[in-house]
């Protein structure tokens, strides 16, 4: 009996090999296109990471970094202040990374700290610490001497605030019905900026959508970077809205979360907040985003035009860090500008380390 070709086993083997090749050739098509899109800015200089404060560094007093949520640089003394959430204190370091002193002990009394979560330093070098445990903002002088505290009730897990040049404390408390609440250094409410529109039926969603990071620039304009609806609102000094900028347009990103539902249609479970931290230096905003982007740090001027992107990318030198460096919800960072050279100081909360990213010439 004559056998047909399809009855031959070798024919199926050929088909199998052919299919395998076909798969290998075309299955990554979608991915290749994305890679090309994301690598448009390949020419940007790469910022390399090195350890600034190591997890193994035991300070002379026997302490070590435990859960460093963030770092800030004092513009007056050039000292580095690390906010340690688990050790309930601030650690102070020299620019070379040497331990200098410790500010605060665990407790509730004046000058004590309990779960310090966010730190801001004003132009005169005064320290403003938000304590999650005590729900208050404590103010210290540049030398670490306690000045005063005032209570602040924020239900949000992520509390961000800033201090203007005129020492106004700008806090985002959506429960008050306004985007920005301006406190005096004494803790009195001076004014409230930007009434929150009730977009969604659910008040909880409305509150989450109104959470963000407030700023005031030297021209008197107020900004809030909303993390719930990915947009930036700008207000004039009287509190009237000037413009709303969608975050994706400002940053120039088009291929992320296109299918995001409108805020009116959001359900309780679908709220996603962008993990950001923003530093304002000389009326320029430096935005640190999730590491999933190739250029996690973006510089904007006060008209919210993109100045440049900073690339912290995988190289042999810091590939070890890249997997670990995920922007925690509460992480905050700082930058150091010296003769137009920029350094980024970013904590690795899980590894209890502080990294310094700089151009390695």
């Amino acid at each position: 009996m004559e056998t047909e070709f399809w009855m031959d086993k070798s024919f199926y083997r050929k088909i199998y090999v052919f299919m395998l090749l076909y798969f290998l050739l075309f299955s990554f098509c979608g991915k290749i296109e994305e890679d090309i899109k994301e690598n448009n800015d390949l020419m940007l200089p790469v910022y390399y990471g090195e350890t600034f404060i190591d997890v193994d560094y035991i300070f002379p007093n026997g302490d070590a970094l435990n859960k460093p949520l963030g770092i800030k640089i004092n513009p007056v003394t050039s000292e580095f202040f690390v906010c340690d959430y688990s050790d309930n204190c601030l650690y102070v370091f020299s620019p070379e990374g040497e331990f200098l002193k410790k500010i605060g002990t665990a407790g509730q009394g004046p000058g004590d700290l309990l779960m310090p979560k966010y730190l801001v330093i004003d132009n005169d070098g005064n320290l403003y610490v938000y304590e999650e445990g005590n729900r208050r903002i404590s103010i210290f002088s540049k030398n670490g001497r306690f000045i005063k505290f005032f209570p602040i009730f924020v239900s949000s897990q992520e509390m961000r605030f800033s201090v203007s040049n005129k020492k106004e404390i700008l806090v985002n408390i959506p429960e008050r019905g306004y985007y920005i609440t301006v406190f005096s250094i004494e803790g009195d409410v001076l004014k409230e900026i930007g009434k929150i529109e009730q977009i969604n039926k659910d008040p909880f969603i409305n509150k989450c959508l109104a959470e963000g990071i407030p700023f005031k620039d030297s021209t008197g304009k107020y900004y809030i970077f909303l993390e719930g609806i990915f947009s930036i609102l700008v207000f004039n000094e009287e509190g009237n809205i000037i413009k709303e900028y969608p975050f994706d347009e400002v940053v120039g990103r088009t291929n992320i979360r296109k299918s995001w539902p409108k805020p009116e249609k959001l359900e309780n479970a679908s709220i996603y907040q962008l993990n950001l931290d923003i530093v304002m230096k000389n009326d320029h905003f430096f935005i640190l985003q999730d590491i999933e982007y190739y250029e996690p740090i973006i510089e904007l001027d006060n008209n919210l035009t993109l100045i440049r992107k900073y690339k912290i990318n995988s190289s042999k030198k810091n590939s070890d860090y890249v997997n670990l460096f995920r922007l925690d919800m509460f992480t905050f960072f700082d930058i150091f500008i010296n003769n137009n050279e920029i350094q980024f100081y970013i904590p690795l909360v899980e590894r209890s380390e502080i990294l310094r990213f700089s151009l390695n010439k």
Partner: protein, 208 residues
């Protein structure tokens, strides 16, 4: 021969379908999966409650006299006559949770208290809104003897300075009083290690 062409066309069609499937997976479905994972990550935001209500004690508040009776009928005084630091841990136990003595907690508690130089501290655990059966009572009495602590059962309506035990949202609330019954610490959900750290700091502050 005709069947050969038919077979080839069918194979190419099948491969095309597979190609489209893989392409769309890479392009769209993968992204949707990543987004969904992120959505699930932030569900816990919903659980956060404004527990500002339970912050009824401020640093420096004075607690009025209270007389408590522990589980083996010893009388404990929270008054000026008792010149000791007091560590009060209020645990609200609902009938659903039942009484569960956390062995790990007491081992850590016992290790940490050894580091405190000043031994003159009265440790009181207030167990709120619960009924204790005979076996649990025996167990707690053994714990009292072993760890030198006091368990006091209080009702739903037990009040310290306008603070009602049943108002407790979370598992536990810690109050640290100095020898003059002035509040040195009052907060909820704080780790035992941090609390002992605070006790040490407060003892150092007051030169005790």
């Amino acid at each position: 021969m005709k069947s050969k062409w038919k077979f080839l066309i069918n194979t190419i069609l099948l491969l095309n379908i597979v190609y489209i499937g893989l392409f769309s997976y890479n392009r769209y479905i993968k992204k949707a999966i990543i987004n969904n994972v992120k959505k699930n990550d932030v569900n816990f935001i919903n659980d956060s409650k404004d527990n500002s209500e339970i912050m009824k004690f401020d640093y420096g508040d004075k607690i009025q006299n209270h007389i408590l009776t522990d589980i083996s009928c010893d009388t404990l005084y929270i008054s000026n006559s008792n010149e000791r630091f007091k560590y009060l841990e209020i645990t609200n136990i609902t009938p659903i949770n039942d009484l569960k003595v956390d062995a790990d907690f007491f081992i850590r508690f016992n290790v940490l208290r050894k580091n405190i130089k000043n031994k003159n501290i009265l440790y009181i655990f207030l167990l709120g809104s619960m009924k204790i059966d005979y076996n649990d009572k025996r167990l707690l009495t053994k714990f009292q003897e072993k760890f030198d602590v006091h368990f006091v059962t209080v009702s739903n309506s037990f009040i310290i300075n306008k603070y009602r035990v049943s108002n407790l949202y979370c598992g536990s609330f810690t109050i640290l009083l100095d020898k003059n019954n002035v509040v040195r610490f009052a907060n909820s959900g704080i780790q035992i290690e941090t609390i002992f750290n605070i006790i040490n700091n407060e003892l150092n502050k007051n030169g005790n």
